[in-house]
Symmetry: C2
Subunit: 706 residues, 2 copies
């Protein structure tokens, strides 16, 4: 449907812009947009369009785009919504390829607005135009060859290498102002509004190949198409870091909250799992995004956890060490050699171990020398240089310049904390975005170092493979085809058994007995002890009515249990007894739970965790969107807190971990093969020392439509 | 030793100050201090002292304090350390009561510095002077009746109601500058340096009764006397909030890391437990402290979790809702009445539910009305008002004024987020500390609201009682007296049994048998099944050598186990077999662990947790400094994650919780009665449905000197 993505050039690199709704009326958006374009010194031609004006901002004004004698690449539309469709149609006729529609009052207001937006979409498609908006705050390109601020932001951003996209216009205005204060330089900016055409995914792909964009920031409220997003974001993350704030943590829920897996998974867990899968760095707030982005934008990532701290004050050094430690970084001792060199450069009461406290009298020379030594220590991966603005003769700017020089000469990240007088702001005002990532407090750069390390580790991590097991897909299809037109419901024990068996998952042998005689025959065949489970229509929670009898050791106990269960079911009016399932009693091994819940928007989300109280009380579980690779399956298993229990603690032998991995991968294959499966709980899966002694004891599958 | 605390008045409210070391030399501290005193317009007399000057800063300069004709209350000393003692002695002779010694080179440099500081202390005590420092950056009192900035900070703070004390001078300089940017007004400030005399505790007590100080902030690196601090801080916290950053998370460790409890407790856990006990709000960073203090300084605390969010932009409103939810606050729906009133005041496309999105065109009138309605909704406890600086005709300052007015009229806290242009800074520069707590992002005020709620809940919480159980303290004393002069070691099983029994803790009956015949006799007496445990010299980890035999069901099994254990011990060269302990096998109930570890500085720290894998893997434990009250014991038990397991889940009956509580309280009493106990692990304590069926199965006690 959509044409080649390079069409976004008409929006971000236009040679001429028509401003439809340009005006000089105080307080109007049309005025602000016009002034921003002119004052930010757009490199191309600007044509104001307004039938009631002859001149706007000293430019000759045209009654409509069709009257403009020159070619126009982009039209920025900021007129009342009633006139938008006609203006857009004229843009199409004029051959304009790009539109930015700032006007609000479309889908976001519901009712008539939705219809209006649909008609807008039709016209746009007819002329094959590309559109940002409607209901947005515009776009910016800081490229000196373009210099376009087509927004109504009261401030323009600094030039830099960060692409920023926002789904909230209100936030966009605030963000641009704040980037200045955080010394963040932008390459491009886009507020996508209702994204009738151009989506976040389109922008990601556009910035993927933009040489001026090294880091991508996103403020998201929803994912248009999570699957497509995953694909695109994963590919781009391997090249450029993507940082995202995803707001609206409580807006969506799991479809199948009645399942165990669904009850634990929330929308936010799904978002976390999705972003983690594609290497997107999720941050908790805009402030944290800025703090981390400042560091990322310098494109130097630490190779390991080892941080050197160099300070001219003890307190801030200790705080920095605390901050690093609390995000998993290390403050290792220096080599003897490094330490000796540091000692020789400093006052004898200075602390020469890591963190280095050069004390208050340290000036530019001390910083220069000590930074040189610690940067060249091969056991150091990154440096945090702290300058507490001193009250005496030392000029803080000269110290900052030395840190900046040291930083330029190394591939290791050097982050800086300047505490005290507002030196950095002055620094920034002097010279645009400074080369040195600088912070007011030690905690944010520590966090930034940790995130950079996590990102570069992710970048280098092997992909892993999505295994395709040989399975009997046909049989499963046959079972599910009959079920999926019905309302959402749980499959029977028998169906579940057949489906998991078809995918070669080790479900414990079980057979249905419709009489007590049959039950005893089966029990003798599979060997005591056995378990009986009720088989009954319209009964989901077996154990609620005493529908399970455990550890039956002889014929007599089986018969007694058979009639006890029957009695219980007969007492429930809505249910009807159909027999019992006779299953081998599995005693050895550890309980684990495998599950899947289908999330609104997000598709199937796999879960792994320790069973029993661990899943109920501690919620010690891991989630990944399906399909998962073999490495992801391993990660899921290894990253639960209770993993040592599976490996074996207190001298106990561990359980067979490969069988868990294989089962997770098969589950992944199953839920991707059959989208009609809404939820699965495999609980418990009793895992023994060997694969052969590991059995799925119970499982539930939810299918059908809502 | 120390005299009446009101003597601090000579330091914080002097009528005359001698500046010993005053000079006008560029870049010297003597110049900065002199200039700060003069330029901040100290209300009393200033006398520069410097034998080499006649005039300093246009003041007549004296060669020594003894030459000053007037009375002097305070001397600020900033001369080379070699001359400090003589100067202090002269101050004593002159009758000066207060000293602030900025000079460094004392205890902090070790060696000679330590001796110098000891001599300083002697002179000070001789004249009964009070001293801040040495090695500090001075003190400030912003009281208009005093106006004293006796520091070398390049900026003076704004006037306000916050007392700030710091153990780091370097940080102090930074902090004062930063308070201005955070719109924090200070009442007093003190950098305590090496606190040769005046400690943090002294300042807390001084500010306790200072009517100008409503909030106390502390930057701490160590506790001089944690027990005294607890006492003082707990009392003051009931009246005024105390916020603390405690840096240096990895500096101290548990004495008995070999014990279970010791292995889990770290110094940081001890600090957390200590601060929590006395109601001090521990924050992770200076930035967080400022963010929270801004809100606290207005002295309006929420009565509950229910926050109303009022915004002129959707994105920021969603972020604010996320932020509130993630710190445990709630964004409840408004009453129908409130909602109707809001609807009538706003554009029809505005969102009138909570959070309210008034959309971009909302001006001062909309803010005024909507704030009035939500503040007066009885189901709302606090308000977060957000203004995204709009690009159009609305003047952001007029909106802020309306929010400020609404805030003034209510006892509910109203916090404000102003995103975008740096309006608030301008606001602050206009009029000092603004009346309205204002933030740049929504996350910090959400955190502040949560902390204020937590604090006011703590303030109102009943104290609870420290129960005194009737115990046989004498017997325990007899046992311990014999042991405590030895090196640190574990007591024998028998001793542990006797000690816990003397405090009426339900330790499972057990008897020592030195022959297999005796073992069988005991087993028959207490009833099968039984457990045998090795008794041997120099053997701590019983289970390591197979020294425990469980579930012995008859005489034969007991005899076999006896010789098996003996064989194992005989194989260990260093150990010598002395017999076995025969104990009733306890099968029913849940495992819990009770413990104590004695922390450097902090004294005994009690632990409670679920036993087994919960304590080993999940570390689901709670700590409190002993002694604990009955309410604290309840809190410890109820606040572990696994509490539902104790209450009973999946239809299982719960265990007897009062018996756990009683045992914790007795443990508290025991460790407070005997300081020589370094660590106790009561693990497992098998708790059954009834108190009578709950037994301590094993326990270890570590005593003696290190």
């Amino acid at each position: 449907m959509k044409s080649n993505i390079h069409n976004l050039d008409s929006i971000f690199k236009p040679r001429s812009i028509a401003v439809i709704g340009a005006t000089m009326r105080e307080g109007s958006l049309g005025r602000t947009v016009m002034k921003n374009l002119v004052e930010y010194e757009f490199n191309g031609k600007i044509f104001p369009v307004n039938p009631r004006k002859e001149v706007v901002h000293s430019f000759k004004c045209f009654p409509g785009v069709l009257e403009i004698p020159d070619d126009v690449d982009l039209a920025v539309i900021i007129i009342p919504k009633e006139y938008v469709l006609q203006a857009v149609d004229e843009c199409g006729k004029k051959g304009i390829k790009g539109l930015v529609v700032l006007t609000a009052g479309f889908r976001e207001v519901g009712g008539e607005g939705i219809k209006l937006e649909e008609r807008l979409a039709q016209i746009v498609r007819k002329y094959k135009m590309r559109v940002v908006g409607p209901n947005c705050m515009g776009v910016i390109n800081t490229d000196p060859a373009v210099r376009m601020d087509a927004t109504f932001s009261p401030e323009s951003p600094l030039e830099g290498n960060i692409g920023f996209l926002t789904q909230s216009g209100a936030l966009g205005v605030a963000i641009i102002s704040q980037t200045r204060r955080y010394n963040l330089g932008l390459s491009m900016f886009a507020s996508i509004g209702n994204n009738v055409d151009i989506s976040g995914n389109d922008l990601l792909e556009y910035w993927e190949n933009d040489p001026r964009t090294d880091v991508i920031l996103m403020y998201l409220e929803s994912f248009g198409s999570p699957r497509k997003f995953t694909q695109i974001a994963k590919r781009i993350s391997k090249k450029k870091p993507i940082l995202a704030v995803k707001a609206g943590r409580t807006t969506a829920g799991a479809k199948a909250a009645s399942s165990h897996t669904g009850a634990i998974a929330g929308a936010d867990i799904a978002v976390d799992a999705l972003l983690e899968k594609c290497g997107v760095i999720r941050v908790a707030s805009i402030e944290e995004m800025f703090d981390i982005a400042v560091a990322f934008s310098r494109k130097k990532y630490p190779k390991g956890k080892r941080v050197a701290i160099v300070s001219n004050g003890g307190g801030p050094a200790i705080m920095a060490a605390d901050a690093c430690t609390s995000v998993g970084l290390e403050i290792p001792p220096f080599s003897k050699n490094t330490r000796q060199k540091i000692s020789r450069s400093l006052n004898k009461i200075a602390a020469t171990s890591n963190p280095v406290d050069m004390i208050g009298m340290a000036g530019p020379n001390e910083y220069e020398k000590v930074l040189h030594y610690v940067i060249n220590d091969k056991d150091i991966d990154s440096v945090l240089a702290i300058s507490v603005t001193p009250p005496t003769l030392v000029d803080p700017m000269s110290v900052i310049k030395k840190i900046e020089n040291a930083s330029k000469k190394t591939g290791k990240p050097v982050l800086t904390v300047v505490m005290g007088k507002d030196v950095m702001r002055a620094h920034a005002d002097d010279s645009g975005v400074p080369d040195l990532p600088t912070y007011e407090f030690p905690e944010p750069p520590a966090k930034a170092l940790a995130e950079m390390l996590r990102y570069s580790t992710w970048q280098q991590k092997p992909e892993g493979n999505i295994k395709k097991f040989k399975v009997d897909k046909k049989s499963v299809k046959k079972i599910l085809d009959k079920e999926q037109s019905k309302k959402s419901h749980y499959l029977t024990n028998k169906q579940v058994f057949e489906i998991l068996s078809a995918y070669n998952m080790p479900i414990a042998a079980s057979h249905i007995a419709k009489t007590h005689e049959k039950a005893t025959v089966i029990a003798e065949k599979i060997g005591f002890p056995v378990v009986l489970k009720v088989v009954a229509k319209d009964l989901v929670h077996k154990s609620d009515i005493g529908g399970v009898a455990l550890d039956l050791r002889n014929r007599g106990e089986v018969i007694e249990a058979y009639y006890e269960i029957k009695k219980q079911v007969d007492a429930v009016k809505t249910a009807s007894f159909e027999g019992v399932l006779v299953q081998k009693m599995i005693e050895a091994g550890k309980e684990v739970i495998l599950g899947m819940t289908s999330m609104e928007q997000f598709g199937p989300l796999l879960m792994f965790g320790l069973g029993g109280v661990f899943v109920e009380i501690i919620k010690d579980t891991q989630f990944r969107p399906a399909p998962i690779t073999d490495l992801e399956a391993e990660e899921m298993i290894q990253s639960i807190k209770g993993y040592p229990i599976l490996k074996g603690i207190r001298g106990e032998k561990g359980v067979n971990i490969p069988v868990i991995k294989e089962c997770l991968l098969k589950l992944s294959q199953l839920v991707c093969d059959f989208e009609c499966i809404n939820a699965i709980d495999i609980n418990p899966f009793m895992v023994g020392e060997k694969a052969e002694s590991s059995f799925i004891v119970d499982a539930r599958i939810l299918v059908g439509w809502y």
